[in-house]
C-alpha cells in the first residue's frame, strides 16, 4: 500500500514534469526554425520609443528575413542594460541618451560603430560630436534636445535679449498682478544643474576644460575655479535674497504647470514641455535662453538620443547592419519624431518635419551654440554637488564658500 502510493505519486509527478519539460522543449524548437533561416535582433528602448520602433523593426525584419524584437524597458534602462550585458542576457541594440556612453564604454557594454563619411555628413554636426567618445563613434543619433526660453506672448510680447530685461519684464508683470513669478526655471531644494547651466555659462563658468582633440578633460574641473565663483555670484543675485527670479520652490514637478497656469511669463524648458503648453492653449514663442548683459552667450546642454550596438549581443553583425545602415535613413527618424516631438538629428529628417512644426527650428536655433552634454564618466559626479550648490546660493548662501566646497566634493569623486 505504502510503496504503491509512493509509486503512483512518483509516476504522476514524472509524467507532469515530462509534459512540462516537453512544453519547454517545444518552444526552442519553434524558435529554432526562423533562427536557421535568419537571425534574431533584440532591441531595448523605453516605452515611448518602443511603440514607434515596432513597425519599423517589423519592416526591417520582413525585408531581410530576420526576426526583430523590440522590448520596452521602462525604468533604469542604462543600469539594466549594463547589468544584463555583463550576464550575457542583454539585447543586440539599445536606444538611449548619449551621456550614457562613458559608463557603457568603461563597462565594455557597447562597440564603436563605423559610419562612412557621407553617412556622417548627413547628421547635425553637434549630434555626431556628442556620440563621439575617445575619438570613436559609439552610436547613431536620431534626435536632439536642448533648453530654450518658452514665453507666454500674451504676457510678454517681446523676447528678452538679456536676463536683466527678462527680470525687468517679469517684475513688472508681478507688480501688475498679471503673474506671480518672474521666471519658471526649475531648481527644487537640491538644485538642477541641467537647467541652470545656460546662466552659468553666460556668467563665465565652465564644467570641464577640453583636451587638444576636443574631448572634455576630467582633470580640468571648472567648478570651484574663480570663474565659477563669479558666475554663482551673478546667479545668487537673481536668487531668493536678491531679485527673486530664481526660487527653490520652483521644482521639476511644478515649473511647467506654473507656466501653463499663467503664473509666470517665462519658462526655461525643452521640447518635452511643448505638448503641455499647447494643451493649455497658451500663445507662446520659443527663443534662445538669454544671457547676462555684457556676459557671454548662454549655452544650454545639447543632449542626443542614439542607437548603440551591444558588445555582448548574440547577433552583432546584424546589429551593426541595423544601426549603421538603417537607423541612418530618414524614415525612422521621422517615425520617432512623431512618437515624441524632438528635433531629428538627421538633417534630411528635420527638413521633412520642420515645415509642419515651426517649434523644431526654434529649438534647433536655441541649441545652435549649445554645448554637448559631457559623456565622460566624471560627469556623473557633477550633477548632485553642483545642483546642491546652486540651491544653496539661490537660498542666499555665500557663493565663494559654497562653490569651493562643491568643487572639492566633485574632485574627490572623480577617479
Amino acid at each position: 500500500m505504502r510503496i504503491r502510493t509512493a509509486g503512483v505519486v512518483a509516476v504522476f509527478t514524472l509524467a507532469l514534469a515530462a509534459s512540462g519539460c516537453g512544453g519547454g522543449s517545444d518552444e526552442p524548437a519553434t524558435n529554432e526554425s526562423p533562427k536557421a533561416a535568419g537571425g534574431k535582433l533584440v532591441i531595448w528602448a523605453d516605452d515611448k520609443r518602443t511603440a514607434a520602433l515596432k513597425p519599423f523593426a517589423e519592416t526591417f525584419g520582413r525585408e531581410n528575413g530576420v526576426t526583430v524584437e523590440v522590448q520596452a524597458v521602462s525604468k533604469d534602462l542604462q543600469t539594466n542594460f549594463v547589468t544584463a550585458a555583463q550576464q550575457g542576457s542583454g539585447p543586440d541594440v539599445v536606444v538611449g541618451a548619449h551621456d550614457w556612453i562613458g559608463n557603457m564604454v568603461q563597462n565594455g557594454a557597447i562597440d564603436p560603430v563605423q559610419l562612412a563619411a557621407d553617412q556622417k555628413s548627413a547628421f547635425n554636426e553637434t549630434a555626431i560630436k556628442a556620440v563621439t567618445f575617445n575619438g570613436q563613434l559609439y552610436g547613431v543619433p536620431y534626435a536632439m534636445e536642448n533648453l530654450a526660453l518658452i514665453r507666454n506672448t500674451a504676457l510678454a510680447p517681446e523676447a528678452p535679449k538679456t536676463v536683466e530685461e527678462l527680470v525687468a519684464t517679469g517684475k513688472r508683470l508681478k507688480a501688475e498682478k498679471k503673474a506671480s513669478e518672474i521666471l519658471c526655471l526649475q531648481s527644487g531644494q537640491n538644485g538642477d544643474a541641467y537647467h541652470i547651466y545656460p546662466l552659468y555659462t553666460s556668467a563665465g563658468g565652465y564644467l570641464f576644460g577640453t583636451t587638444a582633440d576636443g574631448d572634455y578633460d576630467p582633470k580640468d574641473l571648472g567648478v570651484g575655479k574663480p570663474e565659477s565663483i563669479e558666475a554663482f555670484k551673478k546667479i545668487g543675485a537673481l536668487g531668493e535674497k536678491g531679485e527673486g527670479a530664481l526660487k527653490r520652490s520652483i521644482t521639476p514637478e511644478n515649473s511647467i504647470a506654473t507656466f501653463t497656469g499663467k503664473k509666470c511669463a517665462f519658462l526655461v524648458s525643452g521640447p518635452w514641455a511643448v505638448a503641455d503648453v499647447k494643451k493649455a492653449g497658451i500663445s507662446y514663442d520659443i527663443t534662445p535662453v538669454p544671457g547676462f548683459a555684457g556676459g557671454k552667450e548662454a549655452q544650454p546642454f545639447v543632449g542626443v538620443q542614439a542607437f548603440y550596438v551591444a558588445s555582448k549581443g548574440k547577433n552583432k553583425a546584424l546589429a551593426q547592419e541595423f544601426v549603421a545602415n538603417h537607423v541612418t535613413k530618414p524614415e525612422l527618424a521621422v517615425a520617432l519624431y512623431q512618437a515624441e516631438p524632438r528635433p531629428p538629428a538627421l538633417t534630411a529628417a528635420l527638413d521633412q518635419v520642420k515645415g509642419g512644426d515651426p517649434d523644431l527650428a526654434k529649438f534647433t536655433e536655441a541649441g545652435r551654440n549649445g554645448q554637448v552634454l559631457p559623456a565622460i564618466p566624471a560627469m556623473a559626479a557633477i550633477w548632485d554637488p553642483f545642483g546642491k550648490a546652486e540651491a544653496a546660493v539661490i537660498g542666499g548662501a555665500d557663493p565663494a564658500r559654497t562653490i569651493t566646497a562643491a568643487g572639492q566634493t566633485i574632485a574627490g569623486q572623480i577617479k
Binding site: 505504502r2 503512483v8 512518483a10 504522476f12 509527478t13 514524472l14 507532469l16 514534469a17 512540462g20 519539460c21 533562427k35 535582433l41 531581410n64 530576420v66 559608463n103 564604454v105 563597462n107 565594455g108 562597440d111 564603436p112 563605423q114 562612412a116 575619438g135 570613436q136 531644494q189 537640491n190 527653490r248 520652490s249 520652483i250 521644482t251 514637478e253 511644478n254 506654473t258 548574440k314 547577433n315 552583432k316 553583425a317 546584424l318 551593426q320 547592419e321 541595423f322 549603421a324 545602415n325 564618466p377 556623473a380 559626479a381 548632485d384 554637488p385 546642491k388 550648490a389 540651491a391 544653496a392 537660498g395 548662501a397 559654497t402 566646497a405 566634493t409 569623486q413 572623480i414 577617479k415
Partner: protein, 544 residues
C-alpha cells in the same frame, strides 16, 4: 505534532474512516492515515512543479558546466522527493519548505553581499580581466585614415549554414571585386561576378552569396572574420559594408600590459586595483573585478568624508527611527483606546477612515506630501498662510519628515493596538475600577503593560524598518537641506541615504563599497534589535 495527519494536503476526512477503531489507529496514524484524492492531487502537482523547475534549471547549469550547482540541484530535488514520498520525517515535511526559502532569499543574498564587500565590484569593474582586454582592443579599432569603404557581401564556397565564410568586397572607385578570407584579399575577374547598382556582389562563380537571414545566423563568425591587408585588416561593418580598420591597442601577455601602437604608451595590469595603469598614473576605463581585502571597510572607517559627519547622522538616524516608531505608536494607541471605549458610537466608520492612509501606496503619498510642503505652492503654507521653507531649514525639515512618517504609520499601529486591546479581558480593567483606581491608573498598571507584551516585537521590527527607511527620506527631502559647504551630508540624511549617495552618487556605482557599508548598518541594527528583544523577554517574564 505526532497526532496530526501526515503530509501537507492530506486532509482529515472522518467519513471515510471506519468508525470505532479510532483509538487503536491513532497510535500508528502515520502509516495508515487515509489518502484522500485532494491530498494526492496536491502532492502530485507540487512535486511535479518541483521536478519541472529542477529540469528547467538543469539545462543552463549543464550548458555553463557548473557541476557543483548541478549536484546541489540534484541533491535538493532528490531530497525533496524522498521527504514527501515516504511517510517518515513528519516534522521535516513542515520545516523544509520554509528553510529552503530562508536559504534562497535570506542567507544567500546576505552571503553574496558579504562576499561583494571584499571586492571592487562596480562600474568599470564588473567582469573579468579577459573581458576588459577584449573591450579595450575592440574599442580601439579605428578606420585606417584615407582607406576605402567597400560594399560587402558575405559568401561561402560550401554550404550556406556551415561552409567557410569569405567576404566579397567591391571597391567603389573602380568597381573591382575581391574575395577575402583569413589569409588575405584576392582579385576576382569581372566576368565571374554580378554586381548590383549599389556595388554589392549578388552572385559570383564558385561562391554562394548569403542573404541577410543566412548571414545573421552566423553573426559571430562574420564579426570574427578579419581579412589582413597592408594597412591593417578588412572588417565587416554590418552585413553590407566593410572597412579597413586597425586595432590601435593590443594586449601583450609578455609584459602583462596594453600597448598603444600609435603613441607607444603602455598601461601595465595592476591586479590589486583591477585596472591597467600607465607610468604616470593614468588608468584605462575598462577594468576588471578583483578582491580588495578589507580596503572597503577601512575606507568607511578612515575616510574623513564618511567618518566626519557619521556621528551626527547616526544620532539623527536613531532620533528618526525612535520618533517615527514612538510617534505612530502613541497616536495609534491613543486612537485605538478612544475607539475601544464602549461609549463610542460609529466606531466602524472611524475605523474605515483611519485605515485609509494605510491603504494608499506610501510611495505616492510621500511624493504628495513633498509637494504639500513646497514653500510657495504647497498646501500647508497656503492653508495656514505661512511662509515657512519647510525643507529648506534644518529643524523644520526634520519635523516635516517625522510628521509625514506619523501620518503614514499610525494606522498600522492603530490596527495592531486595536487587536491587542480586544484580547485584553475587560474584567481586568473593571476589577481595577472596583478597587477604586482612576482610568489613568488602570491604564498604566494593567492595560499598557499587557499591550506592550503584545506590541513590543512589532515596535522593534518597526524600529528596524524605520532605521533603514530609505523611501521616507529619499522621496521627500532627499536628505536635505544640505549645509552650503557640504553637499554630501544633509540634515535629514539617514545612514542608508547618506551611504547610497556615497556609493552611487559619484562616478559610477561602487557595489563593493556599498556592500561594506550595508554590513556596518546591518551590525548596528542587529545589535539594537538583539538588545531590545532581550529586554522584551525580561518584561514578558514579569507580566506574563
Amino acid at each position: 505534532m505526532s497526532t496530526s495527519p501526515s503530509g501537507p494536503g492530506s486532509t482529515q476526512a472522518p467519513g471515510r474512516e471506519p468508525v470505532g477503531s479510532r483509538p487503536a489507529k491513532r497510535r500508528t496514524a502515520r502509516d495508515h492515515a487515509p489518502i484522500t484524492l485532494t491530498g494526492l492531487a496536491v502532492k502530485v502537482v507540487l512535486l511535479g512543479l518541483v521536478a519541472g523547475i529542477a529540469i528547467w534549471a538543469a539545462f543552463p547549469l549543464i550548458e555553463a558546466g557548473k557541476w557543483a550547482g548541478l549536484a546541489l540541484l540534484v541533491a535538493t530535488t532528490a531530497g525533496l522527493f524522498h521527504l514527501y514520498l515516504t511517510r517518515r520525517h513528519v516534522p521535516a515535511k513542515y520545516l523544509v519548505p520554509g528553510t529552503l526559502f530562508l536559504i534562497a532569499f535570506q542567507v544567500v543574498p546576505v552571503l553574496y553581499t558579504a562576499g561583494t564587500a571584499f571586492t571592487n565590484f562596480g562600474d568599470g569593474h564588473r567582469g573579468d580581466k579577459q573581458g576588459a582586454i577584449v573591450a579595450i582592443q575592440t574599442a580601439s579599432v579605428k578606420q585606417v585614415p584615407g582607406s576605402t569603404e567597400y560594399a560587402l557581401s558575405v559568401a561561402t564556397e560550401g554550404d550556406p549554414a556551415t561552409g567557410p565564410l569569405v567576404f566579397l568586397v567591391t571597391d567603389p572607385a573602380g568597381g573591382a571585386v575581391s574575395v577575402g578570407d583569413g589569409t588575405g584579399l584576392r582579385r576576382l575577374d569581372a566576368g565571374e561576378v554580378t554586381v548590383a547598382p549599389g556595388g554589392k556582389v549578388t552572385a559570383a562563380d564558385g561562391y554562394t552569396v548569403l542573404n541577410f537571414g543566412q548571414a545573421s545566423a552566423r553573426s559571430q563568425e562574420i564579426t570574427d572574420l578579419v581579412v589582413p591587408t597592408a594597412g591593417g585588416a578588412l572588417r565587416s561593418s554590418g552585413l553590407s559594408r566593410a572597412y579597413e580598420g586597425k586595432a590601435v591597442r593590443a594586449y601583450d601577455a609578455g609584459c602583462d600590459c596594453v600597448r598603444d601602437s600609435e603613441t607607444g604608451r603602455t598601461w601595465t595590469a595592476d591586479e590589486s586595483t583591477g585596472s591597467f595603469v600607465a607610468a604616470d598614473g593614468e588608468r584605462l576605463a575598462q577594468g576588471w573585478k578583483v578582491g580588495v581585502g578589507l580596503r572597503n571597510f577601512t575606507r568607511v572607517l578612515t575616510d574623513p568624508n564618511i567618518s566626519g559627519p557619521f556621528l551626527g547622522t547616526l544620532v539623527w538616524n536613531f532620533a528618526f527611527a525612535v520618533g517615527s516608531t514612538g510617534g505612530t505608536f502613541l497616536l495609534g494607541t491613543f486612537v485605538a483606546l478612544a475607539l475601544h471605549s464602549p461609549r463610542m458610537r460609529g466606531t466602524n466608520l472611524y475605523r474605515v477612515l483611519l485605515i485609509l492612509p494605510y491603504a494608499m501606496p506610501s510611495f505616492a503619498m510621500l511624493l504628495v506630501w513633498r509637494d504639500m510642503f513646497n514653500s510657495d505652492f504647497g498646501l500647508i503654507n497656503n492653508l495656514f498662510g505661512l511662509g515657512v521653507n519647510w525643507f529648506g531649514e534644518e529643524w523644520s525639515a526634520r519635523a516635516a519628515v517625522l510628521l509625514v512618517q506619523l501620518w503614514l504609520g499610525y494606522p498600522y499601529m492603530f490596527l495592531v493596538a486595536t487587536g491587542a486591546l480586544q484580547a485584553i479581558p475587560r474584567e481586568l480593567t473593571e476589577a481595577t475600577s472596583v478597587d477604586g483606581a482612576s482610568p489613568w491608573q488602570s491604564f498604566r498598571a494593567v492595560t499598557l503593560p499587557l499591550l506592550l507584551v503584545a506590541l513590543s516585537p512589532l515596535l522593534i521590527s518597526s524600529f528596524a524598518y524605520n532605521f533603514n527607511n530609505f523611501n521616507a527620506i529619499y522621496l521627500t527631502t532627499e536628505g536635505g537641506p544640505f549645509p552650503a559647504d557640504n553637499p554630501t551630508n544633509g540634515a535629514t540624511d539617514l545612514l542608508i541615504t547618506y551611504t547610497y549617495r556615497l556609493a552611487f552618487g559619484g562616478q559610477g556605482a561602487e557595489f563593493g563599497f556599498a556592500a561594506a557599508i550595508s554590513l556596518f548598518i546591518f551590525a548596528i541594527v542587529a545589535v539594537v534589535s538583539a538588545v531590545s528583544f532581550r529586554r522584551t523577554r525580561k518584561q514578558e517574564e514579569v507580566y506574563a
